[in-house]
C-alpha cells in the first residue's frame, strides 16, 4: 500500500488513539496527524512512540479557521491529504425539558458543525488529488435515539445525513465518504459504569460483550483503504448486533 497522510480528530480519546494505532499498523510509511483540543498528553505520548510518523496539532473542530490552518500545514508539508477521520465529539446528556441551550448548541457544534468544517476544509486538497477518504464517526444513537440524548442523537443523525449527501456530491471525483456507528465501546464512559448498570448494558448486546476501540478502528481503516473504493455514503454499525 502506498504511504498515506491521515488526519484524525479527537485523537486524545480512546477511540481516536485506537484509530491512529490502526493506521500505524496498516503501513510503516503512513503519516498520522492527531488533531486535539485541550489536553494533549495521550496524543503526545502516542506521537513520541512513532517518531517522524506522527504529529500532534491543536484543533478546535468548531473553528473553521483552525481547520484551514491545519489542513494548509499538512498539505504544505506532504503535498497531499489522503484520509480524514472526523472522530471528535462529546455528549452532554439530559432530558430535553432540562437541557440548557448551551448543551444543545455545544453538542451540535462539536459533533455536527465540526464534521462539516472538517469535510469542507479537506475538499480542495482531495478534489485536486482526485482521491480521498472521509470517515465520519456517528453513533448508534443516531439510528435508535435513546432518551436523554436529543442533542447528541440529532447531531449524529445529522452526521449520517451529511455523509450520505456529501458522498453523492464527490463520488465522481474519487472521494468516498462513509460513517461508522459504534455501539457500546470500552472507552472512559463505560469504565465509569457500576456493576449493575454494566450487567443491564450487556443484556442488551446480543454478543454479550462490549466492543473494543480496536474493533471500531479496524472498520475505519477498512473504509479508508483503497480496496473500499466502491463504498460510499454507507453507514457501518460496529455494535455487536444491538441494532
Amino acid at each position: 500500500m502506498n504511504p498515506r497522510i491521515i488526519l484524525i480528530t479527537g485523537a486524545n480519546g480512546g477511540l481516536g488513539q485506537a484509530i491512529a494505532r490502526a493506521f500505524f499498523r496498516e503501513s510503516a510509511d503512513n503519516s498520522v496527524w492527531l488533531g486535539v483540543r485541550g489536553h494533549r498528553e495521550a496524543a503526545e505520548k502516542l506521537a513520541s512512540e512513532h517518531p517522524g510518523r506522527c504529529e500532534v496539532a491543536a484543533l478546535d473542530v468548531t473553528q473553521p479557521t483552525e481547520w484551514r490552518d491545519l489542513v494548509s500545514r499538512i498539505v504544505g508539508q506532504h503535498q497531499r491529504l489522503d484520509v480524514l477521520v472526523n472522530n471528535a465529539g462529546y455528549h452532554a446528556d439530559s432530558l430535553l425539558a432540562q437541557m440548557t441551550p448551551e448543551d444543545w448548541r455545544g453538542v451540535l457544534a462539536a459533533n455536527l458543525d465540526g464534521t462539516f468544517h472538517g469535510c469542507q476544509s479537506v475538499l480542495p486538497a482531495m478534489v485536486s488529488q482526485r482521491h480521498g477518504r472521509i470517515v465520519n464517526i456517528a453513533s448508534l444513537s443516531a439510528l435508535a435515539a435513546p432518551p436523554g440524548q436529543t442533542n447528541y442523537a440529532a447531531a449524529k443523525a445529522g452526521v449520517i445525513a451529511l455523509t450520505q449527501s456529501l458522498a453523492k456530491e464527490v463520488a465522481r471525483i474519487g472521494i468516498t465518504v462513509n460513517a461508522i456507528c459504534p455501539g457500546f465501546i470500552e472507552t472512559g464512559i463505560l469504565h465509569a459504569l457500576g456493576a449493575e448498570a454494566r450487567k443491564a448494558l450487556l443484556a442488551r448486546i446480543p454478543m454479550r460483550r462490549t466492543g473494543r476501540p480496536e474493533e471500531v478502528a479496524a472498520a475505519v481503516c477498512f473504509l479508508a483503504c483503497p480496496d473500499a473504493g466502491y463504498i460510499t455514503g454507507s453507514t457501518l454499525k460496529v455494535d455487536g448486533g444491538v441494532l
Binding site: P124, V127, S128, E169, V170, R172, I173
Partner: protein, 91 residues
C-alpha cells in the same frame, strides 16, 4: 509570452482533463456557456473541481461564490480572470 488564444486553449484542456469530458478541446467554443441549456452541461460538482483546478494550475483564487459564478461562465471569462490576476501575462 502566452497569447490569449494559447491561454484559452490551456483553459479548455484543463476543463476536459479535470472533468474527464467526452469532448475534445476543439469542440469547446470560447463563449459557449459552461452551465445551463446550450452549454457544456456542467453542474455544481464540476464547478467545484474547476475552482480547485484554476487555483492549482493558474494561481487564480476565487474568493466567494459570487465571483466564481462570474468567472465560470465560459472559457472566455475564465481566461480573462486568469489574465487579470497575473501581471506577467499579456492582455
Amino acid at each position: 509570452m502566452e497569447s490569449k488564444e494559447e491561454l484559452r486553449r490551456r483553459v479548455k484542456l484543463m476543463i476536459v482533463e479535470n472533468l474527464m469530458l467526452q469532448v475534445t478541446v476543439d469542440e469547446i467554443r470560447d463563449q459557449q456557456p459552461l452551465f445551463g441549456p446550450g452549454g457544456l452541461g456542467l453542474d455544481s460538482v464540476d464547478a467545484l473541481q474547476l475552482v480547485v483546478a484554476l487555483e492549482k494550475e493558474f494561481g487564480l483564487k476565487l474568493a466567494d461564490q459570487g465571483i466564481a459564478r462570474q468567472v465560470l461562465q465560459s472559457v472566455e471569462t475564465m481566461a480573462d480572470a486568469i489574465q487579470n490576476c497575473s501581471p506577467a501575462t499579456p492582455k
